[in-house]
Symmetry: C2
Subunit: 468 residues, 2 copies
């Protein structure tokens, strides 16, 4: 624990008011409580003060004060994170980027856009789609999450399987360093062989190396057509095996999502969508193809379906209306919330090479049996990224606190043994840092801690995250 | 200058022999001279010794000796670099990876491969193509350059415009750190939100942060069809304007190459290819589309051609045989060598946002007039990456040494002003480091130097590169 929890002096609060304006500095209990949790489990850590700056210069000034006083600063986007990255675990200053919500430019000549970090993912995708452009990263929380948070966590989503994750779209960003300087990390170009890749060092750094204040992303032409199929399987492992067969056969679907039966059952209780599910359907794949030529896409669907039948799928549901597509996506996107509404849970964001998915799923179930917990699995199968929701159900608090972490440790060890790692898109943050010794040895960890120290010598920016 | 040039003691040479075997330690003048240059201008810096280790453990042992003795170590792939990155500018140990040339695995289930750094790019692409898989990065030197060097320089090539550069294909790598430890940088997965991105820090670091000993790359399905067109323009600037129009219209060609008239003229003198070039053709675009459906590609070519006519192109040459395609590519790929065979030259690897290309080209010519030099330009127009070859021709040595660097400085300043930077795919190395103050301010440079110091506290790995 690097900091004792302490309340800030009136002098510091006054300085923050000088910097941000009285209207944007908050110390009332209800507001501190609002900003004291994110979407991670049931965790709550209240900050001492919430500030809402609107310019890089204001953030820079805040960092100078925080450095002088050694006050922790926790940056926060929309608070939709699933690893506790935005939790002010040592109190101090909670810095919300919510007022920095402008799309500064959509550069149609260069297929680029410049945004502030507080722009909502969906707002941005709508804005570029209106110009027939496409920003692929689409986390489940896209209706509320911020692009700054997406950058911090290197967010993915269903489209990642064809189009890549956030890191593949960030060309350049403006960052306030923990020491207060403001820099750009790169240039607004598609190719760059000029110095170390500071941009990619910032992406996925979970707000521990700097506070991103402007983001330049690349855009691509918007595909005009897509087709969607829901494919039921009698065996979850067969479904997972089918996934890598599709890619091996030369197809690259624009989504390849997996849902265990339990996940579908929770969803059907939670949202009003109609999906014909039979007794013997143990898992489903949701497969989308996209492009500009419908005939080509129909042919692809046909070929993919043929392949799926070799893995003993049942009858394929082909979405034949916009409404049905929307329902199927609603089903998939609600899976997390639906499962979580049912019970206390822990969500693990496992990732392995795609073809190892059957082994991962089998292992997760065996480990659950060993430690006495049930899990509900779904996720981005095409990327080998399986969300494992461990359900408390009837476990005692003691079992939950002692046995589950041992099980999680074994699950992560299995991931690493299969060539994977412990987070695909949610990040390490607060809740997974105790497991960082599994993917990394001390040399690897010390290099990362060295980078942190280089950027943030006083360890004031989002302390307590990522590393034990 | 961090090191005085010094010869190595017999004790050190003996230790290197102990590590690598007598057969793989070289100190004769002819061999030192062979390894004392790369493809960068006419530069020559001989090492004190050349070693050819074959395992990460041997490299690790070499680094321990080098650290103890503070001997510079310069890693080298095939020596095809264009920024002097493999030049042993302070003498010492030249470490060639040429014996580490095995393709360790092509994992067809996961569409991944694991290779050693000394595998030739073309050898690798042939091996994966035999399995209907595709590794896109294709620098002009692909017939001889090594994948390790490609990683070090973040190499591109014509395919980058659709498929991305080397960084977009590297999933994970094994690295011997300057201090001798051996680590992996990540995991073999498509999505990773686990700690800082050490993999992307290594890509493009020009052999200054570690020596890569194994590389895990992702592969994609091999497109089965492609079409190629050569499009002549009456104005080089119009050709550049046409480039961004194509992407804005929603097309993503698999190559979009630009050649000035002078470049074509040099090529036609240098290699035996037949291209019908008319008097009034001032520039050409070489445009390729690829995919799996020929009808779709023909339609795309037709639409792209229509668009090109709006930019006053002359009659489009549609390659109608494999031979003609090969000839057109030979013409493009020989451009560098052809220009360089003609005169002493300096090659600048400028890059800007794609739509700024006309301004860049115009600016380069004006700067040439101002400082009295001629330039021949060609390159990857779809990526805004223009290779500017400055030709010595009749300039005096004095003019060449004094005026040209001022002109280069102005060209780079123009790049940065247009949102670009000073190298797109060749790297900074030895010859561009004096210009690093143009894209980066002291804060940005100090962060990068801090990373270098963290990885290489004694500054023995490829010293004298990237930073002044």
């Amino acid at each position: 624990m690097e900091f004792a929890l302490k309340s800030l002096s009136a002098i510091v609060i006054n300085e923050l008011i000088q910097i941000c304006g009285e209207k944007y500095v908050f110390t009332t209990e209800d507001i501190l409580a609002d900003y004291g949790h994110d979407e991670t489990e049931d965790l709550q850590f209240n900050p001492s003060v919430v500030v809402k700056p609107i310019t890089p210069e204001e953030i820079s000034a805040i960092m100078y004060v925080a450095n002088r006083e050694r006050i922790p600063v926790t940056p926060r986007g929309a608070g939709t994170g699933l690893s506790g990255g935005a939790l002010p675990v040592f109190g101090g200053i909670l810095l919300s980027t919510e007022r920095m919500n402008k799309i500064l430019e959509i550069d149609e000549r260069n297929l680029q856009a410049t945004v502030e970090p507080g722009v909502i993912n969906q707002v941005f995708r709508d804005a570029v789609e209106a110009k027939s452009l496409f920003y692929p990263p689409d986390p489940a929380s896209r209706g509320t999450c911020f692009l700054g948070g997406n950058l911090a966590e290197n967010s993915g989503g269903p489209k990642a399987v064809k189009y890549g994750v956030t890191k593949d779209y960030i060309l350049n960003c403006e960052v306030v360093l923990p020491t207060g300087e403001i820099i750009w990390t790169g240039a607004n170009v598609l190719k760059n062989a000029t110095g170390y890749n500071l941009t990619q060092l910032m992406v996925g750094s979970e707000g521990t190396l700097g506070i991103v204040t402007k983001i330049v992303v690349r855009l691509i032409p918007l595909p005009t057509q897509n087709l969607l199929m829901l494919i039921p399987f009698r065996s979850a492992e067969k479904a997972c095996e089918a996934v890598s067969a599709v890619f091996r056969a030369g197809f690259t679907p624009s989504a390849m999502e997996f849902l265990e039966r339990d996940a579908i059952d929770y969803v059907l209780q939670y949202v009003d969508v109609k999906i014909p599910v039979k007794e013997n359907h143990k898992a489903h794949l949701l497969v989308e193809v996209d492009g500009n030529d419908l005939d080509v896409l129909f042919k692809e669907c046909e070929q993919i379906t043929e392949l799926m039948y070799q893995y003993e799928c049942d009858e394929v549901l082909f979405a034949d209306s916009a409404q049905q597509k929307a329902d199927l996506w609603k089903m998939r996107r609600s899976a997390g919330e639906a499962v979580k509404s049912h019970s206390v849970y822990k969500e693990e964001d496992t990732v392995v090479p795609r073809a190892e998915l059957p082994k991962l799923l089998k292992g997760v179930k065996e480990i659950g049996v060993k430690y006495g917990f049930r899990s509900v699995c779904y996720g981005h199968a095409g990327d080998g990224n399986l969300h494992v929701n461990i359900i408390k159900d009837g476990m005692t608090d003691d079992e939950w606190e002692t046995k589950v972490p041992l099980g999680i440790r074994e699950i992560f060890q299995l991931c690493v043994m299969l060539g994977g790692t412990i987070s695909g898109e949610h990040g390490i943050g607060w809740v997974q840092k105790e497991y960082m010794d599994i993917p990394f040895n001390p040399t690897q960890l010390n290099l990362q801690k060295g980078i942190k120290k280089l950027f943030d010598p006083n360890n004031i920016l989002n302390p307590g995250k990522m590393f034990v």
